[in-house]
């Protein structure tokens, strides 16, 4: 009887039983569905027949958007690859002055949102900026016509700015990959007649390729997400285009159609990333780790190594931090009088609410997945975590539209049932903003907590259950204490990303509601960087917290002592500038 009965009772019956057995599964599916709603909404609006401006768009601006977006991605991808892997190789394999400082200092630019760096760079390098004024003084030039200076607010400028704040992703992942490589493999390449450079290109780089691909993909996703930089630099990218079509051309459907095209683009990127991740570990043929060879660099080489690591840190972090600090000290009164504390309080409370919710929901989802759940829950959870890759502008559309429909439905219901008009309950409130943050950043807390729970052996669950704990009690008495650290990490990552998040906030915020990010963006766009410097500095300061966390992870990870890769990979995804 056994074989046939099993065949008949297969996965379907089992799935059914699970559903009946625990509310965890049902809850997980509901959560995943609500997080995925914005994505579905965007697609369904795009396919709604009315208001089709696609033909118009594709005849006019679309080719330009595509061209600029691809160029931007190409430039930022290449730039971050070179800087990221180059500096990672230097600090892991070579010894030169300042190496241990660069180990963590190279991460600092992560704390600076791209739009903040864009403002600072423009402020310093444009015609009226410090550098050009200085050059005019030295050479006696009088006007713009007397000399040539590259245009800062351009595609090239955007590529430079984004490369400088995004390369740490590639640095972090390739550094971890280099550390994981068994030194023996490199030594073998030396004994087979390769010099260090050849060893790097023929062994180390190919071995680290999967990790580097993941890093560059994350960079490209962030590039697509950026709205502040491209708006300020007037680079007509896809993201800027969506914003433009929606708010200036007033065409939701057009924006949704563009968003759908872009989402397909993003899905391809996710596919590449997943593929690279699945092959992330080549099987190590040797488990021997000795101390890394540490080529000692001297003289000119040491100088160039130090310089190569110094420049990105200075341009990506030290310069903006110094400039902003200077302005903040000089102009803090203006900033404070511009309701700085209100904006700061708004930013803090929004981010804190989103962080707490993201951690709770992420834990629920991760634990629900762990409880079994099978295919249904696992795919739901995976689907819910696509949000982190989808640009904020797209998510904003997807949040706005369902909420508006829900609002009007509630309003009608309330009028009919109680005769009380409700107006807009959800859309245009901070609920919409928090919902947007959650759809985008839930993947962060979920990923962190899932990785952390994954380190707890399933026997723990079994032991707790057989000792009389229900799943909920086991979570409270066993898992919760064990992942407490990761709960904090997850919360912090979400919190900082929400502080920095611009596109979602600027589109979804209630009327006249300012956070630090929107305040800085609007003031600085109006050439009032000095007055908003304190706000920008606050965002950067908050962004340093996860950098410290990551540095600690790096300090703990040494070759041969476990894999630093898993931990840092999870945490990287969070550091959206």
């Amino acid at each position: 009887m056994s074989a046939t009965t099993i065949n008949l009772s297969g996965p379907l019956l089992r799935a059914f039983r699970r559903f009946r057995l625990d509310g965890w599964t049902v809850g997980a599916v509901v959560v995943a569905a609500s997080v995925a709603t914005p994505l579905i909404a965007v697609v369904s609006i795009a396919f709604a027949p009315d208001d089709d401006i696609w033909a118009h768009l594709s005849a006019t601006v679309l080719p330009l958007y595509i061209e600029k977006t691809l160029l931007l991605m190409l430039g930022v991808g290449a730039g971050t690859f070179v800087i990221g892997t180059g500096t990672a190789w230097l600090v892991t394999m070579c010894r030169f002055p300042g190496r241990w400082v660069f180990n963590w200092a190279l991460l600092l630019p992560l704390a600076v949102p791209a739009y903040v760096l864009a403002f600072v760079v423009t402020d310093q390098l444009e015609y009226a900026g410090t550098l050009q004024a200085w050059l005019r003084e030295i050479f006696g030039w009088e006007t713009r016509q007397d000399y040539w200076f590259p245009e800062i607010r351009s595609l090239g400028g955007a590529i430079t700015v984004m490369t400088l704040v995004l390369y740490p992703y590639v640095y972090l992942l390739s550094r971890a990959a280099f550390l994981e490589q068994s030194v023996c493999v490199l030594e073998v390449s030396r004994t087979l007649g390769k010099n260090p450079w050849q060893g790097f290109f023929s062994v180390a780089l190919p071995l680290a390729r999967p990790a580097i691909v993941v890093g560059v993909t994350l960079v490209l996703m962030e590039t697509l997400n950026d709205l502040g930089t491209v708006e300020f630099f007037a680079v007509p990218t896809f993201t800027a285009g969506i914003y433009d079509v929606w708010l200036n051309m007033n065409s939701i459907a057009g924006a949704a159609q563009m968003a759908t095209v872009m989402m397909i683009f993003v899905l391809v990127l996710i596919g590449i990333e997943r593929f690279a991740r699945s092959g992330q570990r080549y099987h190590h043929t040797s488990s021997k780790y000795s101390t890394l060879p540490s080529y000692r660099l001297r003289g000119v080489r040491a100088f160039f190594a130090t310089a190569a690591c110094t420049v990105p840190v200075i341009l990506g972090f030290a310069l903006p931090a110094a400039v902003l600090t200077g302005y903040a000290l000089e102009f803090y009164e203006e900033t404070l009088s511009a309701d700085f504390f209100v904006y700061a309080a708004n930013s803090l409370s929004l981010s804190a609410i989103a962080a707490v919710l993201a951690v709770l929901i992420g834990l629920f989802l991760a634990y629900g997945t762990r409880l079994g759940g099978g295919l249904v829950v696992k795919s739901a959870a995976r689907f819910a975590s696509i949000g982190y890759a989808v640009p904020g502008a797209i998510l904003a559309i997807g949040v706005m539209i369902p909420l508006a429909r829900l609002d009007s439905a509630l309003d009608i219901f309330s009028r009919q049932a109680f005769g009380i008009p409700l107006g807009l309950l959800l859309s245009g409130t901070i609920i919409a903003v928090v919902y947007g943050y959650l759809t985008r950043f839930l993947a962060l807390s979920y990923g962190t907590l899932e990785a952390s729970l994954g380190k707890i052996t399933p026997s723990m669950d079994g032991a707790a259950r057989t000792l009389g704990c229900s799943p909920g009690m086991a979570l409270r008495r066993v898992h919760f204490p064990l992942v407490r650290g990761s709960l904090l990490t997850a919360g912090l990552l979400v919190f900082v990303d929400c502080m920095k998040e611009l596109p979602l906030t600027i589109i979804l915020r209630p009327f006249n509601y300012e956070t630090l990010a929107t305040f800085v963006f609007q003031y600085a766009s109006d050439e009032l960087l000095e007055e908003s410097a304190l706000g920008a500095l606050t965002i950067v300061a908050a962004g340093i917290l996860p950098v410290i966390l990551l540095s600690l992870t790096i300090a703990r990870s040494r070759p041969g002592q476990g894999a630093p890769n898993a931990a840092s990979a999870t945490e990287t995804e969070g550091m959206a500038p």
């Binding site: 009887m1 056994s2 009965t5 099993i6 297969g10 026997s459 259950r465 057989t466 009389g468």
Partner: protein
């Protein structure tokens, strides 16, 4: 029927390969039953099904006369409501709780007498001074004892042990086993233990269930399992065996080592004769053969089935063999020897002789077979 009863349990992780096929197990209160089998034979799955950590697909699980899982109608009492203790192979001690908190984890209500029991048990297991310590500083043996006490603290009616000694050093294993056995026998709990180590099963078990590929091949006492294996798999479980082949003729098989009984087997059927290395008796030619350890227990219960059992050879004349190599193993010696097969060729045999027995290469040896250690099975 109190105790643990698994009735006709089948289980599959995917639809093609059943892990368990129609298995029935009964463990009485106070009894210790060992599931013995190679890794991947499904024994851990059976344990998880009994504990409720795995959903039952087909069959029925009863604990203390209460049905806790029913394959057909989907009844599934969750593990926390079954009153079972489960000890994991990796012990699964909670790293964030100290030893005493670990042991008392399962005491949901604050029951003073059980807490007192925990204190006493820790003292008895020489763990009193570690009560406030965290698991990671304990040795493997200490962790094992904490895990055992933790599983027993809530007074489960059924205790499930998953490879409880595999994480221990060989030198510590024997002590811990004896200690554990003594402790379990005092509590009177029905214990189902999983192991792949036949010696461990022999030592611990009241009954051994030999499992392979999701089926139970034999259910018997340790002595029965060793001396009356039901098939070649069970016979070979205790280590390498000498294998001879032959054809049945008139309820007997003729081999170079003599004739073996082959009752109830048709003439012309090919059979395999398995002889344990310790079942070969060796004497240097000239000495009289003597009774050796391992000849089989006196008064071994011979039920009706053993009457018709095959394998016991009729009294035989010692054969002449030639030593090929001899190696001392400590308690016994390992001897490799060659016997003429009567067709101009030789067969190679392995023997294990108690004490030091190291004939020189080429030395003549008289060889006879302990009839209790030779088993005849039809070749499938």
């Amino acid at each position: 029927m109190s105790g643990l009863h698994l009735n006709n349990v089948s289980h599959a992780y995917d639809n093609r390969n059943p892990v368990l096929s129609g298995i029935s197990v009964f463990v009485a209160p106070g009894e210790l039953v060992c599931l013995l089998g190679p890794s991947g034979c499904g024994k851990t799955t059976l344990l998880r099904v009994a504990a409720g950590l795995e959903l039952l697909q087909v069959g029925q699980v009863t604990i203390a006369e209460k049905v806790v899982a029913e394959g057909r109608d989907g009844l599934h009492v969750p593990p926390e409501k079954r009153g079972i203790g489960l000890m994991f192979q990796d012990y699964a001690l909670f790293p964030h709780l100290n030893v005493f908190e670990n042991v008392t984890f399962g005491l949901t209500e604050n029951i003073p007498e059980r807490r007192k029991w925990a204190e006493k048990a820790l003292a008895r297991m020489d763990l009193a001074e570690y009560a406030e310590s965290y698991p990671h500083i304990l040795s493997g043996g200490q962790q094992q004892r904490v895990a055992l006490l933790r599983a027993l603290a809530p007074e489960p009616r059924v205790l499930l042990l998953d490879e409880p000694f595999s994480g221990l050093d060989v030198t510590r294993r024997a002590d811990v086993r004896a200690e554990t056995l003594g402790f379990l026998k005092e509590t009177g709990v029905a214990t189902l233990m999983v192991t792949h180590d036949p010696e461990e099963a022999m030592f611990m078990a009241d009954r051994i269930l030999v499992m392979d590929q999701g089926r139970i091949l034999q259910d018997g006492t340790p002595v029965q399992t060793y001396y009356q294996p039901q098939n070649a798999f069970v016979a070979a479980l205790f280590g390498p065996v000498n294998r001879l082949r032959g054809k049945v003729k008139g309820n007997r098989v003729e081999t170079p080592l003599g004739a073996f009984e082959a009752k109830n087997l048709d003439d012309g059927e090919t059979v395999e004769i398995l002889i344990r290395p310790e079942g070969l008796r060796l004497t240097l030619s000239g000495e009289a053969p003597e009774i050796q350890a391992g000849d089989g227990p006196q008064g071994l219960e011979t039920g009706p089935e053993t009457e018709t059992r095959n394998g016991a050879a009729s009294p035989q004349q010692p054969r002449l063999a030639r030593a090929l190599s001899a190696r001392p193993l400590g308690r016994s010696s390992h001897v490799e020897l060659a016997v003429a097969d009567g067709q101009g060729s030789e067969i190679i045999l392995e023997a294990r002789v108690p004490g030091v027995f190291l004939p020189a290469r080429g030395e003549k040896i008289l060889l006879s077979v302990n009839p209790r250690q030779a088993h005849v099975f039809p070749v499938p």
